[in-house]
Each structure stands twice: as C-alpha cells, then as structure tokens.
C-alpha cells in the first residue's frame, strides 16, 4: 500500500476542493478514481489490494466513511461489506462518525507523553466537554490522537485542523480553542 503519506496529502487537498459539492458528486468522483485503477479482470485478491487506497480517497472526499459509502465500495469491488468494514474498523485512521468542524489531534508519542500531553488532553476534554475520540455536542470539535508528528523538540504537541502547536501547556488551551469557532 505504497505512499500512505501521499494519500493523506491528496486527501487534505481534495477535502478543500469538494467541500461544497453534494454527496452524488463525491460518489461520482470516487467512482472515477476507482475506474482509474483499472480493476477489470482482477481477481478478489487483486481487488482487495486496492481497498485501503480507495478507502483513503473516500475518506478524503467525505471526511469520514458513512455506511452507505462502505457499501458502495464493497459493491464496486465485489467484496463483502463485512470485509470492507473489517478493514475500516481495524485502522484508527478511518473514521466511522462525521468529524466536528475542527479536528484536534494530540500527539501521544513517547516524547509528548513524557512531556505531559496527558494534562493537556484533560484540559481540552474539560473545556470542550468531550472525550478523546468523540465529537462535542455542538459539532465544534472532534478530539483525536496521533503518534509523533516528527516535532519532538516541541513536545508536547497538538494539531488543530493540521496546524501544529508546540510546547503546549494546560494554561494555553483556552486561548488555542478560542481561535476556532
């Protein structure tokens, strides 16, 4: 599954480009992408091999992976829905619930952990009234975690919508959250 990083970049771009389009248009775009993979004549193993790539693209388009989209992909690839869901549910990266307007990802890698990301998470959870992995009731924030963004010298680190904040203290949380409405 080469180029996972590349797929993530593409996803960010695609997310911005298609924010205003309807679900049908997204499905059309997804279908065009699947078409471009040239799956005709491939056996089940061959179709299985591109599943993660397609899920990446789909999440890029929709922001998450609704059941209907998973069913659509399973029909397109002639794989059982259970198999598609098995893969989706295995990877934390794939989201099965829609995200809030802003996504806060905490780095829980070793350096950030040691430098106290835990206290920062507690503070954000308290101020947003949301648990890690969930979306706030007002749809404003989704709290997630990731492992190491390669900025260990800035630990502890969090990202909001892809923007990185370093050496974060619990006291700074209020001001950071205020930037995102």
């Amino acid at each position: 599954m080469g180029g996972a990083g590349g797929a993530i970049e593409t996803m960010e771009l695609t997310r911005m480009q298609t924010e205003e389009t309807s679900d049908q248009a997204k499905i059309r775009e997804l279908d065009a992408f699947i078409q471009s993979l040239g799956l005709d004549g491939r056996d089940a193993a061959g179709r299985r091999a591109v599943l993660i790539q397609i899920l990446h693209r789909a999440q890029g388009l929709f922001g998450w992976l609704p059941e209907e989209v998973q069913k659509h992909i399973s029909a397109k690839l002639d794989l059982h829905v259970s198999e598609v869901y098995g893969v989706v549910s295995f990877y934390h990266f794939f989201k099965t619930k829609p995200s809030g307007r802003h996504v806060i990802d905490f780095c829980t890698g070793t350096a950030c952990f040691v430098r106290g990301i835990g206290k920062v998470i507690e503070q954000v959870e308290a101020q947003t009234g949301t648990k890690l992995g969930e979306t706030s009731g007002d749809g404003r924030f989704t709290l997630g975690s990731l492992r190491c963004v390669g900025a260990c010298s800035l630990a502890p680190v969090l990202q909001v919508d892809g923007k990185t904040y370093g050496r974060v203290t619990p006291e700074q949380v209020e001001a950071i959250l205020a930037e995102y409405k």
Binding site: S74, A75, H80, V81, E83, Y85
Partner: protein
C-alpha cells in the same frame, strides 16, 4: 512432492515435503492439540490462522517454538511435541485464553462439545491464574436460528472461514482490533439484518459456545402441556439417520421406529412424517419441471427445499429470482396441509393446532418465521427443533432411547416412499424428481429407480440422464460456495443444465447445522455413513417413487385437485423477495 525424513518424539518417519508438522504428527498418530485450526472435507476448507498457538512444538535448532499447524516440515527436522517447554507454554496460553472466558460451563450449551473445555481439562491447568479485563458483550439473539455470545469467543475465526471460504456468504469478518476485536457482521449489525442464511456451519465449527443454535424447547414443552392445543410433530428425513448419535450410537444407524416411539412418549398428540410432504413436494416440483420443459419455461429449474439456499439467492442473486422452483419446502407444505386438509378431516380448529418440525437444520427455524409461509391462514409451522434439541428433550424426559420399541407413524400424513427418504442426502431431491419425471414423460415404469449417477458426497456433481429419448442435464451442488459457481453460470447464460439441486450444507441435510456435533476431521466419514443409512431406508421401501404414494394420491383426489393446479398453488407454492446485501 519429494519426501523428507523427520523425527517426531523419537519416531522416524517420511512425509511429503509440503506437509505441516501437524500433518506429519497425525500420520504417526501423535496428537498435537489444536484450537483455531480447522480442516474440513479433505482440506477443501482450511482455517490456518495460527492465532491460538496451542499447537506449538519444539524444533531442534530453532530458537522459538513453532506452531505445528502452519510450519512446514524440512528434511532432518527433529520435533518434540511435549517437552517441558512446550507443555509450560501451552498451559500459559490456555490460562491466558481462559482469563477472558466466562467459565460458566454448567450453563453452557456447548458443554461436552467444547474444544476449549476439553483441552483445558486435558491440560489440567489452573484456569484462574491470570486476572485481567473481561469482555462484556450483550448476547445477540436477533435471529430465530443462531445466538451469538461473543464473551465466549476465542477469536479463532473458524466461523469466518466456514462463512466466507466454504459458504461464500460473507457475513462474518474480524471487526476492530486488539482486545476489542470481535468476529461479526459489518457495522456490528445483528445477524437478522444481514445476508446470513442461518445454515449453521459456523455453529458446527465453533470450538466454544460463542455460536449456538437458538433453542425452542421451552415453547414446545409448553405447547405439549397445554390441554387446549393439538400438537402435531413431523420429522425430517435426515433426523432419523443421526438422532441415535445423540445417545452414543454409532453413525449410520437409522432409528426411525425408536424416534417415533420417543416422540409419543414426550407427549406429542400426532406423530407424522415430513417425508409425506417430501413426496408431495416431488409431485409438485416434478410437475413444475415437466411444465417448464414442455412449455419453454425458465430453465434450468433450481430446487427450493433448502431455506438457507433460498435466502442465499434472495441476497446474492436478486436477478435470478425466477429460476428456482416456486415449491415450498416439505415441512412448510406439511404445515399448510395439516392446518387445512387434515384439520378439516379431523374436524379440529386449525387455530388449536401446533405444528412442530424436527429438523437437521437451524435455517428452518428462520424459515418457519417467514410471514408469507402462512397460506393455511395461520403460520404454517409453529416451532422448529433441531436434531440436537430433540436429543436434549428426550434426555431431559428420561427416555431410555436405545431400549425403545419401534413405533409407526400416524396416518395419513406419516406414509412415504423411498423418494422421500433420500431428500436427506445431496442429490436425493434431484433423484426423486427424476424418478417421477421419467415415468410421467415416458408413460412407462422405470426398470430401476436408482439414479446412481446423481449420488455422491462431492460438492459439485453433474450427470446426463436420458428420459424418453430426451437428454436431461442435471447438476448438484452441496455447500453454497459450489452453488455460487452454478449460479454464476446461469447468470452468464452459460448453463446447459435443465435441473439443478442445491443444498446449503456439505453432503446435504444429513450434515445440516442442527445435526449432532461431529469432529470436523471425521465429518466426511460420518457423512458417508449417514448417507448409506438413508439409501438403505429408501431401498427397503415397497414404494420408491413419490407419485405412487397412495396417501398422496388420495390427498389430490379428496382435496387438492390437480398437481400444480390452482389450490396447490395457493397452499404449496411461494414467491421470493429481493434482499439487501450486508
């Protein structure tokens, strides 16, 4: 394959180089314990995930212990299957598995048939050594057929292999990861909402009580003990060839007479036979087949006795709903006839009649709940019990099965031809239909009613049969993976068959999901023995063709009128529904 020399526990042997250590050990009768490993039907289906590690062995010169199920032999290998290191590791593995297991064996349906329990007993290990987190799942009871208690699941994924590789139903998959990983349907949907066909092959291969048949024993006891109800029982052809095994009898012995007596002792008011309705099914189905042949109808015609198969094509081949015969399955026909013809004859209010089917099958439980199967004005069949459940009821009632005298079915719904007996085996419905079709089309009696060419235990078979100068091509599939291949040919317009018989379970109903449990490695042998018992039952009958059953002829004369006619259509035929894939 070249041979290699190896030594296992001091025993020198030569095995093919593509063998695993487990294969080699079995060859010299050394028993390496396994749990997740599964081999079915001469290795046609194999679960080799090597996840439980219970089969670890020590290989000289190798640093780590090797899982015997998935490690290939190499020339000169020296293997020790029960060294102190091996035994110690296995015990720890077992203790870890048991640390997250309910251990309520006294209440467990699988007790006595549980690989985990057996192994744990054999190891004589401290099952409470490790304290840790416990799974806490709701027991899933959405369907009429299968109950899932994932707290007992050991994640061996045998069920997934049976469902996906053998049956190609594809409902089960590993979902989630780590401690929270479960084997289940997409979106954690309840089974009832999925394309599960309830064949029960997953229940058969589950090494614990995580997958169980749903029990309806209580409901049946209540009906028997309700003085307002007239409780009628019918027994599927395959039950008589296996029920004895529930009481320690050797496979391959038909216990028809004892079963009848046992049912009377339990308190059923009338003991009838699904075989009667199997004869009725043949008259309807063969007439439909002849009709399609003569009038340019849709061919091939597919049989429709198997409810798992019916549900399979409703989900997976929605474009082919006009191909299967519209005949209801025999026990449903029986229910419809009992609550109309027999009720009238006996002057009993059909609302008071409770029809109980004893079936080798779990899918029949689901089938009985299908709303449209109520042409009698009531649900045609009220309760379905599996062969295993009948065994349990008889034991609970203290019936000494082995010593029971033979009894006879009640009439008129208890008499049957040999053509009905063979419904139990793969190829039997096809053979019974040919027995009738050949005589009706040619207008002559057959010299021999034995169509040996359609018999056998292989998953996919085909034969040419000549009827009155006409070549009839038949195909037979048992196991839904094989059925899928035939259906794909039909879909592609490449099928040259006239008649296709499909049964969801390997070997047909004799190895159905409701039959007594069998060690999976012995299933083929047991399948053959049960089949022999059924063919002997058929050969011993005076009347071997369904249309010659005098009670069937009387039923048409007194009540139904013409075969495949209007009244028969209303009571004995049904339609199919396109269903979602999930």
């Amino acid at each position: 394959m070249p041979l290699v020399n190896i030594i296992i526990d001091g025993v020198k042997t030569q095995v093919s180089s593509d063998s695993t250590i487990l294969d080699a050990a079995r060859k010299v009768n050394i028993n390496i314990p396994t749990l997740c490993h599964l081999e079915l039907h001469n290795k046609e289906t194999v679960n080799r995930v090597a996840s439980c590690r219970i089969c670890v062995v020590e290989v000289e010169g190798r640093r780590n212990l090797a899982p015997a199920c998935s490690t290939k032999v190499q020339n000169g290998m020296v293997i020790r299957t029960h060294s102190p290191r091996v035994i110690k590791s296995r015990r720890v593995l077992m203790q870890l598995l048991l640390s997250n297991h309910p251990k309520d064996c006294l209440n467990c349906y699988a007790s006595g048939n549980c690989d985990l329990q057996t192994l744990s007993n054999d190891m004589h290990t401290d099952s409470n050594r490790f304290e840790g987190a416990h799974s806490d799942f709701m027991v899933e009871t959405s369907s009429e057929s299968i109950v899932r208690d994932l707290n007992k699941c050991i994640r061996c994924r045998r069920c997934e292999t049976a469902c996906n590789d053998m049956q190609t139903v594809g409902v089960l998959s590993g979902v989630g990861r780590g401690f929270d990983m479960v084997v289940g349907p997409a979106f954690h949907a309840p089974l009832e909402k999925t394309q599960c066909v309830f064949c029960g092959q997953c229940v058969k291969v589950c090494p614990t009580g995580a997958l169980m048949g749903k029990s309806h024993v209580e409901e049946v006891w209540n009906a028997i003990n309700d003085p307002e109800k007239v409780v009628v029982v019918q027994t599927a052809p395959a039950v008589r060839a296996a029920l004895g095994e529930e009481f320690g009898m050797e496979p391959g012995k038909c216990v028809t007479g004892r079963m009848v007596t046992g049912l009377r002792r339990l308190g059923f008011n009338h003991v009838f036979d699904t075989n009667f309705a199997a004869d009725l099914t043949i008259v309807e189905e063969a007439t439909e087949f002849i009709h399609r042949l003569k009038h340019g109808g849709r061919l091939p015609m597919l049989t429709s006795c198997c409810p798992a198969w019916v549900k399979f094509f409703e989900h997976q081949f929605q474009d082919l709903l006009d191909v299967p015969s519209t005949c209801k399955s025999p026990h449903e026909m029986f229910g419809a006839i009992t609550k109309t013809y027999w009720a009238e004859k006996m002057k009993i209010d059909p609302a008071k009649i409770v029809v109980v089917s004893i079936m080798p099958c779990l899918s029949k439980k689901y089938e009985a709940s299908r709303k449209e199967l109520s042409s009698s004005g009531h649900q045609d069949v009220d309760y379905v019990l599996s062969t295993r459940e009948l065994g349990r009821m008889l034991r609970e009632a203290g019936v000494d099965f082995q010593s029971l005298p033979d009894g006879e079915f009640d009439n008129p719904l208890g008499f049957s031809s040999g053509g009905a007996d063979i419904f139990a085996v793969s190829g039997g419905v096809c053979e019974a239909a040919l027995r009738m079709a050949a005589e009706v089309i040619s207008g002559k009696e057959l010299d021999s009613v034995d169509f040996e060419e359609v018999r056998g235990t292989k998953g996919l078979r085909h034969a040419h049969v000549e009827i009155a100068g006409m070549e009839v091509n038949v195909a037979i599939a048992c196991g839904l993976g094989h059925a899928r291949r035939l259906l794909e040919e039909v879909r592609a317009g490449k099928s040259h068959y006239h008649l296709i018989e499909i049964m969801a379970c390997p070997g047909g109903c004799i190895c159905g999901g409701g039959q007594p449990f069998v060690d999976s490695r012995e299933e083929i042998e047991v399948m053959k023995k049960r089949a022999q018992a059924i063919y002997a039952e058929d050969a011993g009958k005076e009347i071997r063709s369904s249309h010659k059953n005098p009670y069937i002829q009387e039923l048409y004369k007194e009540f139904l009128g013409e075969a495949y006619g209007e009244k028969a259509h209303k009571l004995l035929h049904t339609g199919y529904t396109s269903r979602e894939k999930l």
